[in-house]
Amino acid sequence: MLGDLGAIFAALALLATLYGSGAAYVSIRRDDRRWWESARNALIGAAVLLGLALLVLVAAFLTHDFAVRYVVLHASRAMPAYLKVSAVWAGQEGSLLVWTFFQASFTALAISLPSQRARPLVPWTTVVLGVIGAFFLGITLFLSNPFVQLSHAPLDGQGMNPLLRHPGMVFHPPAMFVGYVGLSIPFAFALAALIAHREVRWTQAVRTWTLIAWIGLSLGLFLGMRWAYDVLGWGGYWGWDPVENAGLLPWFTTTALLHSAVMRDEGRGFEIWNYVLVALSFVLVLFGTFATRSGVIQSVHAFAESNLGGWFLGAIGVSLAVSLGLIFRHRAELSARAMSDRLFSRDGLFFLTLVVLCTLTVSVFVGSVLPTITDLLTAQRFDAGPDWFDRVTGPQFGALLLLMGICPLLGRSTSVFRRVKRWGWLVGLGAGSAVVAALLAGLTKPAVLVAFALTGIAGTTALVEIGDGVARRMRRTQSPVLNVLWELLRLQRRRYGGYLVHLGVVLMAVGVIGTRFYPFERNVVLTPGEPHEVAGYTLVTDPLSQEIVRDALTTSATVTVYRDGDYLSTLVPRVNRYEGYQQLYTVPALRPALSEDLYLLLAGWSGDGTEVTFKVVVNVLVNFLWLGGLVFFAGGAVALWPREMQAPWNAIAAVTVGLLLVASGWSMWGASHGMVRRSTGRPMVGHTAPDFRLTTLDGKTAALTDLQGRIVVLNFWAPWCPSCKDDLPVLQQLWEDYRDRGVVFVGAAYDTEVGAARESIATHGLTFPVGLDTGNQLADAYGITGVPETFVIDAAGHIAVVHIGPLPEGQLKMQLERLLEAE
């Protein structure tokens, strides 16, 4: 039922889209507005139908309709509901359906509510968007249909790829789609302008759409970075994988487009740049889809190979031929206004910025296709690894930082260097302080100091621009600073939003510099209970624990982290093994700090659990990357903020987008990352034992200060704990053997009540003093992570032995003997 319904809705949407494109063309030919209105209605109808089709697919997931093949492949009954929703875009067929829905909705919005300036372009835009929509819809329906049904429905589905079981996966793919699909809108308007109305300033007319696409793309990439950091378990956020690059390529060209559009709007030429960049952005989106879906380029992303490659290659060819052909035909008209030929002018440096963004695009493109091409043409395959990309793109990113530092200071017309002369000292000071800060932090590599100087220049310039604007306006209006800042952000959204974005990029650059220049990664093998020094931290792991949660077997290690003997935090990295999947889902544990993240992965363990391997990664300054992202998107939001909040639609859209942003941020950062913060941790061997005062059940008091000079065995146990039942008789026996030799045994009953404790004592015939650990005060002071745990404190009051979990046979006896001998 659901499968049929979804297919019918999608098919009707395809018919409506094809009709819409044709009817819009008829309206142009006959100069008849009625046909265009009919076309608009058809495209609105297509968007509604695809929305219904998408709801049908969601319903199929939520109701476990395993007659639908796509549901069987990507869901199982045990999955939580939010994962079932994100399973809609877990595979190619569903992703394409979401894509077509976004395409149809954006199309309907763009042609129904065009800006005043864009009106003349709308009929041709409708034709182009109709063709694009029909292309994707045709591919979805005929080559990659999510509504294909099985003749016999299985009882349960296969479940989702473990790597995609992350709450952030609800937001990352849709954000990417907003970016990818959004880029088709300015592309269509640009084609319309090329075909019929070259006098129209299309960059201004579709500015909002370009911004939406660019912010969507940025957000998608950013969330993807965080997902990689969280899930892929290599401790990094960007691996120059072809799929990542596929998203980055159009981001470069769209960033360039935003800048060349500024030049065009200021009347400084750059017309051809705008057309070429918008065409490139759209074609690179198609290329990214081709690259990731065709299996031509190898990637870590688990997309299935498919037969769509040829179609996307064809679409790339057609889009390139049409757009470049039109640009070539009208080249004389488009380059009528020449740019300034001075390099050190606003035009000149904007031009350089565009050139660097383009060389970055080419570099990343070449690196992505090189393995495939060398494989085809020569016998030797050249694999461009992360090092290759870092080396090639690093200097270019540096050049971009320098341009960000100089360009905004240059004057717009006559006195080009007036502001450079005025503010140069401050920018130089900024660069100097960034270098000094790096030196003080111990980052001394020459390349790092150069990079920090560049971030200092770019950051100071952005701050100077904002500060200068505020100061001037304050002089004029005599209002307080915050009011002025607010007014500037409100009145000149694009300008000051842009500077905020620049600031965000600078902060992110700091994070990139730290992580790329100071990578630290080591595999360490830990024996439970024994401390291990690595990268200035001391790690002590508890024995592994395993439990079954839903459809996964979870293995987790509890690691206590110290620095210089002081307790820092407790980290719990996990590994989930899902039924039916070979791939493991690793949940790293993080201890974040502004200077560095300690990133711990459970990498493996020996069969008897006596050796546990951890991958320890230290990411220097990585949190500047995430902080920079925050500033970046704040700037993006300022630039995109609607002029008229009175219009209800604008307010609704702004609130919705705001909520989605908060939710996506929470999904990536809010969920716990295996870190437990406590006031104290388990004291390390050799350190002073925390003092305690325990009232025993027979009314006496056991206090550590009174027991100075004697060996104390402190055992945490609970009546409800099975392995404690094995330990208690052993302890009783040892107590009987050693009480005469000056050894004191103290039992602390954990998380229980008097009655249960007394019953246990009677059952096991315990005679050593046992006290109730009320409020778990003692347990907190000793940082225990479970029962039983046993501490042996020597005569000097230092921790001599820590046993986590059940006592190994005979070991405590040996240790007591050794301690008594030492005295």
């Binding site: 049929d4 009707l12 046909w35 139908l49």
Partner: protein
């Protein structure tokens, strides 16, 4: 094919066709021409009604974005956006236009 799905699909198709065909049912291609025709026919019905005096332009005309015919727009040399000849300060960035 499921009967229920077929029926829902047919209903959706009918709704779609009706919605798409609606604008085509209008008589005239150009809504503006149609409105003018209506106005003309109303005028003919009552010749005695004199057209109302055109109102004097109000203050709002100055800030409206409509360019008066024939005047070429000039641009702010700081932010590059268009400004009117009578502006002393740029309405977009506040630049003193008399400065240069």
């Amino acid at each position: 094919m499921d009967i229920g799905a077929g029926l829902i699909g047919a209903a959706a198709a009918l709704l779609l066709v009706a919605y798409v065909a609606r604008p085509l049912g209008r008589r005239s291609a150009d809504p503006d021409a149609q409105i003018e025709a209506w106005v003309a026919s109303v005028r003919q019905l009552d010749e005695s009604v004199a057209p109302p005096e055109p109102k004097a332009p109000t203050e709002t005309v100055i800030v409206s974005s409509q360019e008066p015919e024939g005047t070429s727009p000039s641009f702010c040399h700081r932010c590059g956006r268009s400004v009117k000849p009578h502006h002393r300060f740029c309405p977009h960035c506040g630049q003193d236009l008399a400065e240069t």
